[in-house]
Subunit: 351 residues, 2 copies
């Protein structure tokens, strides 16, 4: 451990207030958080402190220019009570990739990894053991430096908070393939986990919810002919027995679940294709019955089967399958995450 990491423990714990049998997603927070400040041109040593409000000047650039990025991870507890992370270095690398695009100074790896493990060790009791639950981990970075000039801030905060959480979606997901709005521009920030990418999705998603859908499937902003991804998930389509997902690009987040699913599918002998998926193709396959499954994949939502999609005022239902890829892949990935099977890929990381 860096001998500079300071830990200030909470005087009392709030854990007895938490109903671990009825956890929603990301709405109660554990006793501690990690805080790291960027000042005078460098990241200062991280501190673990009691979870507490942040005090910021009203002119802090986070309020004005959306200079913020985040990550989403989970800690999983196995039957023996040991805690595990899933490919945490991938989240660290993506955080710095996002940082670069948003003109935020990159964070040293040891601040992230040691800060995270120290925090998790301290709040280990907050990692739920109930099936389907986990400790959602939210690392984020934002501009705390001040000024109304539209330019990068000179001060930043990196924080990790954690939240014992249940499922992101309750049940299967009905999606709307978007024809008007879009999530990301070519040459934009879509591939980064930038705060602004999410706020921009809220209004179109609300419109879809009003029409009876749970989620929007984004298409490219130019033609709306190609499927990109969902709110916080990459999208997979199974046509006959082939599992297809779109290629990542500067508009699409390079999801860790997505690439893990591709690896598992390959190992399982499932034919996979990474290529552009046209809306036309999906609609036609739905009509002929060749479209067997669609699902979203992401850390928060794990693997979320899609029950139906809407496109141009028509809904297309997906069949109920006995041997769905979604079920198989979800079982395989969660078995690895919760340390129920051997980890042949080397993805698990002991806290």
């Amino acid at each position: 451990m860096t001998n500079t990491l300071v830990v200030e423990k909470a005087k009392t714990s709030k854990i007895q207030d938490v109903d671990f049998d009825n956890l929603s997603f990301g709405s109660v927070y554990s006793d501690h958080m990690l805080v790291c400040d960027y000042r005078n041109g460098k990241w200062e040593a991280p501190k673990v402190v009691p979870y507490q409000p942040l005090s910021l000047d009203p002119s802090a650039k986070i309020f004005h220019y959306g200079q913020s990025i985040f990550e989403g991870m989970k800690a999983y507890k196995d039957e023996a009570g040991d805690a595990w992370l899933f490919r945490p270095l991938e989240n660290f690398k993506r955080l710095n990739k996002s940082a670069k695009r948003l003109a935020i100074p990159e964070l040293p790896e040891e601040y992230f990894m040691e800060g995270l493990t120290t925090l998790l060790q301290l709040d280990k009791d907050w990692i739920p053991q109930n099936p389907g639950s986990s400790l959602y981990i939210r690392p984020f970075m934002f501009a705390s430096g001040t000024g109304f000039h539209a330019s990068p801030a000179d001060e930043y905060k990196f924080i990790i908070c954690t939240a014992p959480s249940g499922a992101y979606f309750s049940g299967k997901v009905k999606v709307l393939i978007e024809e008007n709005y879009s999530r990301a521009a070519n040459g934009g920030v879509g591939y980064a986990k930038a705060g602004g990418n999410y706020a921009g999705q809220f209004y179109p998603t609300q419109l879809a919810i009003e029409k009876g859908y749970n989620q929007v499937i984004w298409t490219d902003d130019n033609s709306h002919e190609y499927i990109e991804e969902a709110g916080a998930m990459n999208v997979f389509v199974r046509i006959n027995d082939t599992l297809i997902t779109g290629p990542t690009s500067d508009r699409i987040l390079d999801g860790i679940t997505r690439k893990s699913i591709l690896d598992i599918a390959n190992e399982e002998g499932i034919a996979t294709e990474v290529r552009k998926i046209s809306v036309h193709e999906v609609v036609e396959a739905a009509k002929t019955g060749e479209l067997k499954e669609m699902f979203g994949a992401g850390t928060a939502a794990v693997i979320s089967p899609i029950s139906a999609f809407g496109y141009k005022d028509t809904d297309y239902d997906l069949p109920e399958l006995q041997n769905s890829y979604a079920s198989l892949l979800k079982k395989r990935i969660t078995d690895i995450q919760y340390n129920r099977v051997a980890d042949t890929f080397g993805w698990r990381y002991k806290v």
Copy 2:
């Protein structure tokens, strides 16, 4: 005035610390600010309070999902010491247009207008009288409600801060016409003053600054063949004696300066065109000498003449003109703003 607007005065003023002869842009803040909270489904009555830090939970959605919007206005002081706003209702309307796109609840007009005028009357001494200076006004709204679920917050804050300010750019501006990065997607949030639109520009702008430019001129994300706008300015091009600016769209901010300039130019008998401007056309006109002027137009930057533009590793200098449109239009608009001439358009608003 709404009889609900509460004013809590600062005990001491910080005004004696301010060097009004050497004001930078937006980096010192006046004694008071307006704060308005959205809670339980409604905007509560605004309060004017001493300028002070904000306390927010680390899970407030502003830190995670970029759900924030802002406006930029100025208060101008005339020779008699009276204070003026320029088309403030336009800012109010645009704020609510942005709010809608970002799934933020719209604000009642009287909260904005009465809050603003009360604040300005109280901090009237902060409006500079020095030539070229003004009180920059920053209304902003952001998600203070909490949760890691990527969905709109249930609580928001609307705040107005003010900052006595000098020029946004020092001197003429050298711009780079962007070929790779972009600012906005079709169907995205480019037309809204959403925080995330600005953070996304920082990195490409830094790259341009490293190459010796001050600012990027954004092009469309699909072909990069058409000029859109600059960081916080709309762009005008003069070819021969015609003044041209691009049409607004869902990618481009509908600038108040831009439309005022069009009105003034029409009144001055200057031929104007609102149509797509191709990069090719601008480069060709620069080569033949038909490109007479380029300038940016926005509240912060007023009218900022462009001295040269770079495109595909070549720089194109713009001529020094005796009777430039930029100078004429800048004089006309600032004369109206500072109450130096009659306001035939009805744009001035007395504080």
